[in-house]
Amino acid sequence: MKHDLAVGQLDFLNGDEAVAFGAKLCRPQVIPVYPITPQTLVVEKIAEFVANKQMTCAYIHVESEHSAMGAAMGAAMVGARVFTATSSQGLAYMHEMLHYVSGSRFPVVMMNANRTLAAPWNIFADQRDSIAQRDTGWIQVYVENGQEALDMIIQAYAIAEDERVYTPVMVNLDGYVVTHTYELVHIPDQALVDEFLPPFRSQNAIDFAHPRSFCITAPTDWNMEFRLQQQQAMERSKQVIAEVDKKFGAKFGRYYGGLVEEYKVADAEVVLIAMGSVIGTARIVIDQWRNRGQKVGLVKLRFLRPFPQEYFQGLSGRVKAIGIIDRDISFGYEGALASEIKSALASTGKCPPVVNFIAGIAGRDITKEHIAEMLAKLFDRRAGKAEKDLQFIGLRWPNG
C-alpha cells in the first residue's frame, strides 16, 4: 500500500470507527441498523455523526437484523443510497433478506464484523458467519485492517452501483482483531470522495411515471433467466472491481490489487493463502523466512464472491506446495476456502500438494509461531513427508 500523507486527515481509529467514517464519506441517505457486538461501535459512531449534524440521513432504529435488511430494501427500491452493518447471529438472522436484496439487484452496502456463530456461544472472530452466506448473491470482500475497511466501504458503493453490477456488497472485518484495534487511518477528503462517488441515480428504482413491479414473483418459465443475470453480473463485477481499485488508487494513493493481492509470490515455491486480519501476521513471518532464504509467499484472497478462479488457475503451475488458512470449517469436509481454491487449482489438471489449516476459530489467536508451523508443514509435505490434508492449528492438545 502506498500512503499519500497529503490526501485527507490522519486519525487514530479502530476498525469500526474507520467503517463509520467510510460510510459518512459516501453520504448514504438511509441507514437502518441494529446493534450487535462487535459491530456496535459503527452504529454508535454513525448515530453520533447524525446527532451532531455531521451526517444527514434517515437513521432507522429497526427492531431486528431481518428488519434492518428489510428497511434497506425498501429504501433502495426508491433509489436511496443505503448503508447498514451487522455481525454473526445478526447476519444469520437476516439471511432471508440477503437473498431478497441481491435477487432484486439493489446495490446495498453492508459491513459485517466477522464473529463466530453459536453454539457454543462466543463473540470473537472467525469467518463462519459470512462464509455461510456465500450463496446469497452478495459480493463479499474481506479486509486486513482499518484503512482497508474505510477504503473498501467507498469502493463497495462504486462497485455495487455500477450498472454492470447492481449487486449488494458485504465488507467483512474480523471481529475485535480489526473492529476494535486502533491504528492510524487516513480519512480521505470529502470533496475527493464526492468526485469519486457521485450521487446515486438508480435505473432500478420506483418511478411513479413508469410504474413497475419489483422483487416480483417469477414463475418456473422465467425464474432461471433472472438467476442467469445475477451470475452474469457477478462475472462482470470482476472487471469492475479491478477498475474501481485502479481509479481509487489514482485518486487516493492506495491500491489493493482487486480480487487478490500477492505478497512475495513471484518466485515462491511454498505459498500460504488466507483472508482477513491474519494476513498482517503472515506478512511478518513470510519476511522472516525470506530473510533466511526460503522461497515463501502469501496470497491475500480479498473477494470470496466473485471468486477469482482465474488467478488460482494461474497459480497452480507456479508453486510446489500450497497452504490454505481457513478461519472457518464446513463440518464434514474441510475449510470453505480450501474447497473453493482446490476446485480452481484442480481445473488446470496440475494441482500442487495442498494442506488446509483450520485456525483462529472463535477468536483463537493465530500467532507468528502458528504461521511458521504451517510453513514448516508445507515444506515437509513438499519433501514428500506425510502431512494430513486437514489440520487444526493452535489447539489445546496435539492435532488428533
Binding site: 441517505q29 427492531e63 431481518h66 428489510g70 430494501m73 425498501g74 413497475r212
Partner: protein, 294 residues
C-alpha cells in the same frame, strides 16, 4: 365521507387471479381508488402477492413489489425513509398483508415500524388462516374453526384458542390511527382509507375478508357472510383515533351465532355445546367492549 360519484373510474388493480368470491381484489381495488396513483404497494408472501404479481403479468398500475413474509413493516419504514430522503412527500406507502403475515410472522416488524412512528398505511386482510398455503390456522383463526393443521376430529373441535385481538395490540402502541373493517361494508372501509390519507405516521386497518375456499361457503355469499359476522357480534367495526375508540356499528341485538357458523364448512362439526362456548366467548368480548368503549 367518500362518494361513489367522486371515486376515480381508473383502476389500479385488475386482472388478478384470486378465487371466485374472494373479496381480496375488492379491498385492494377500493384502497387504491382512495389513495390514487402515487402509491407504492408492498406485499409479503400471501394470497395477495400470489394472485397479483406473477411475472410478467402485473396487475397493479402503481409500483408494487413482493416482500419477505416477516418483513412488511420493515420495508414500509425503508420506503418511507427513502422517499423522504429523495424529497418525495406526496406519495403513499401501502402494505397489504394477510392475518398470518401480520399477526404471526410479521408482528415484530409491524410493531417496530408502528413504534417508530414511520409514515405508512398497513392493511391486514384477515381471512382467518394461512389461505395461500392451504388453510392452516393462524393466531387470528377463530375459536372452533377446523383448518388443515387444526382439523376437527374425535380429539379436537378445531381451533382451540380464541382469535388474537390485533386491533387492541395496535392501540397498545398508541398508533395515530387503527381501525377494523369488513369487505362487506365497503363504504365504512373506504371512509377509513380516506382518513389514512390525512393522518401522519403509521395507520392500520384490519379488514375482515371472508374466504369461500378456506371457510367453505358458496362464492356468491361473501358479502352475506361478512355482514353476518358483524350482525352476530363475532366481528366489529371500530376505529381508534386521538386516543379514543369509536364503535362504528353496534347491532341492537345480536343474531344467533349459529346463523353465521352453520353457513361455513369450517364450523360444520361444532356441537351445540361448542356453539354455546363460542357464544359465551362473544358475550365476554362484548362485555369488555361495553365497559371500555361504549
Amino acid at each position: 365521507m367518500v362518494k361513489v360519484k367522486e371515486l376515480p373510474d381508473r383502476e389500479f388493480l385488475y386482472g388478478h387471479k384470486a378465487c371466485p368470491g374472494c373479496s381480496l381484489g375488492t379491498i385492494g381495488r377500493l384502497a387504491l381508488k382512495i389513495l390514487g396513483e402515487k402509491t407504492i404497494v408492498a406485499l409479503p408472501a400471501s394470497c395477495m402477492s400470489t394472485v397479483t404479481t406473477q411475472y410478467p403479468q402485473m396487475n397493479y398500475t402503481v409500483p408494487s413489489f413482493t416482500m419477505a413474509f416477516a418483513g412488511t413493516g420493515a420495508v414500509l419504514s425503508g420506503l418511507s425513509a427513502g422517499l423522504k430522503a429523495q424529497g418525495i412527500t406526496d406519495a403513499y406507502v401501502l402494505g397489504i398483508a394477510g392475518d398470518g403475515g401480520t399477526a404471526d410472522i410479521g408482528l415484530q416488524a409491524l410493531s417496530g415500524a408502528v413504534e417508530r412512528g414511520d409514515d405508512f398505511i398497513y392493511i391486514c386482510y384477515d381471512n382467518e388462516a394461512y389461505m395461500n398455503t392451504g388453510v392452516q390456522r393462524s393466531s387470528l383463526t377463530p375459536l372452533g374453526a377446523s383448518t388443515t393443521n387444526s382439523p376437527a376430529g374425535p380429539a379436537s373441535w378445531g381451533e382451540s384458542r380464541p382469535k388474537k385481538n390485533l386491533f387492541e395490540i395496535m392501540i397498545a402502541h398508541r398508533i395515530p390511527y387503527a381501525a377494523t373493517a369488513s369487505s362487506a361494508y365497503p363504504f365504512d372501509f373506504m371512509n377509513k382509507m380516506a382518513k389514512t390519507k390525512i393522518i401522519k405516521g403509521p395507520k392500520f386497518i384490519q379488514v375482515m375478508c371472508p374466504c369461500p375456499t378456506g371457510w367453505g361457503f358458496p362464492s356468491h355469499l361473501t358479502v352475506a357472510i361478512g355482514k353476518l359476522a358483524v350482525e352476530t357480534g363475532l366481528w366489529y367495526l371500530a376505529e381508534y383515533e386521538n386516543g379514543k375508540v369509536k364503535m362504528n356499528l353496534v347491532p341492537k341485538t345480536f343474531k344467533p351465532v349459529e346463523e353465521y357458523l352453520k353457513k361455513q364448512r369450517r364450523f360444520r362439526h361444532l356441537t351445540e355445546e361448542q356453539i354455546k362456548l363460542i357464544q359465551e366467548h362473544r358475550d365476554q368480548e362484548w362485555q369488555m367492549i361495553r365497559q371500555r368503549w361504549l
